[in-house]
């Protein structure tokens, strides 16, 4: 069963409202609603707090929901995530360097350099956004 359904059932069994749960674990009622409707996944700390609050084991909450396990893997594996980001930045620099070198071999390249500049601006913005998302 999905974690969303399990959370909803566990809350009802514990006889609590979404507002009460939100107050206890310091999140908004909307967040609880999103978790229970599978619009977003709780982070691992919230899952632990919910497991305490509902007196239900982590095993019961987490097992059987592959999407949730995948989400936890992605959100907790910061080392791999940072490595991917650094790799993307290095690749970006390499591609720009190669394009700049190739420019020497292309005659009448009036639009080539501006093209590289525009590509660089867009990819740099994208990378910066990826970096900011990590906060």
């Amino acid at each position: 069963m999905e974690i969303a359904k399990k959370l909803k059932e566990a809350r009802k069994q514990a006889g609590m409202t979404q507002e009460e749960v939100a107050e206890k674990i310091l999140v908004s009622r909307q967040t609880i609603s999103n978790w229970e409707n599978a619009k977003s996944y709780p982070d691992i700390m919230s899952v632990i707090e919910l497991s305490d609050l509902y007196a239900i084991s982590l095993d019961t909450l987490l097992k059987g929901d592959e999407q949730m396990i995948k989400h936890l893997e992605e959100s907790t594996d910061m080392v791999t995530s940072n490595k991917k980001l650094i790799l993307a930045i290095v690749l970006h620099i390499l591609v720009v360097a190669v394009l700049l070198i190739l420019q020497a071999f292309i005659p009448n390249s009036r639009f080539y350099l501006p093209g590289i500049f525009l590509l660089m601006t867009i990819t740099s913005s994208f990378l910066l956004y990826q970096m900011i998302k990590r906060f």
Binding site: L26, V27, S28, M45, M78, V79, N82, L85, I86, I89, P114, F117, L118, T121, I122, S125, L128, Y129, M131, I132, K133, R134, F135
Partner: protein, 107 residues
């Protein structure tokens, strides 16, 4: 003044405003993040990160400091700054492209 110069100045101003806004959002987000991780000088890290090249170093250093759960208020602020930073990036990107095209086509 010709049209290309006017558009170059406008896009230049757009880029500058976007860049200042990105730096400010990163500064605020870093302070929230650094406080949650128990860094000794969150403001220093905030200023340090306003240069986005330094931000990678911060990402590596901060892994050693486990993050305390953010309060609802801090989380709301963080999400607000993230959104504002995203909009500022788009703003800067469009400004940069516009500035470049104005200068390129103007010559």
């Amino acid at each position: 003044m010709n049209a290309y110069l006017i558009s170059a100045i406008s896009f230049g101003a757009m880029t500058l405003a976007g860049s200042v806004s990105i730096a400010y959002q990163i500064y605020q987000m870093t302070i929230i993040d650094a406080k949650a991780r128990g860094f000794k000088h969150p403001r220093f890290w905030g200023i340090f990160n306003t240069d986005s090249n330094n931000y990678l170093l911060y990402l590596i250093v901060r892994c050693r400091y486990p993050k305390e759960k953010l309060s609802e208020k801090a989380l709301r602020k963080m999400n607000h700054y993230k959104k504002a930073a995203g909009i500022s990036i788009i703003f800067t990107c469009i400004g940069g492209i516009g500035l470049f095209l104005s200068l390129f086509l103007g010559n």
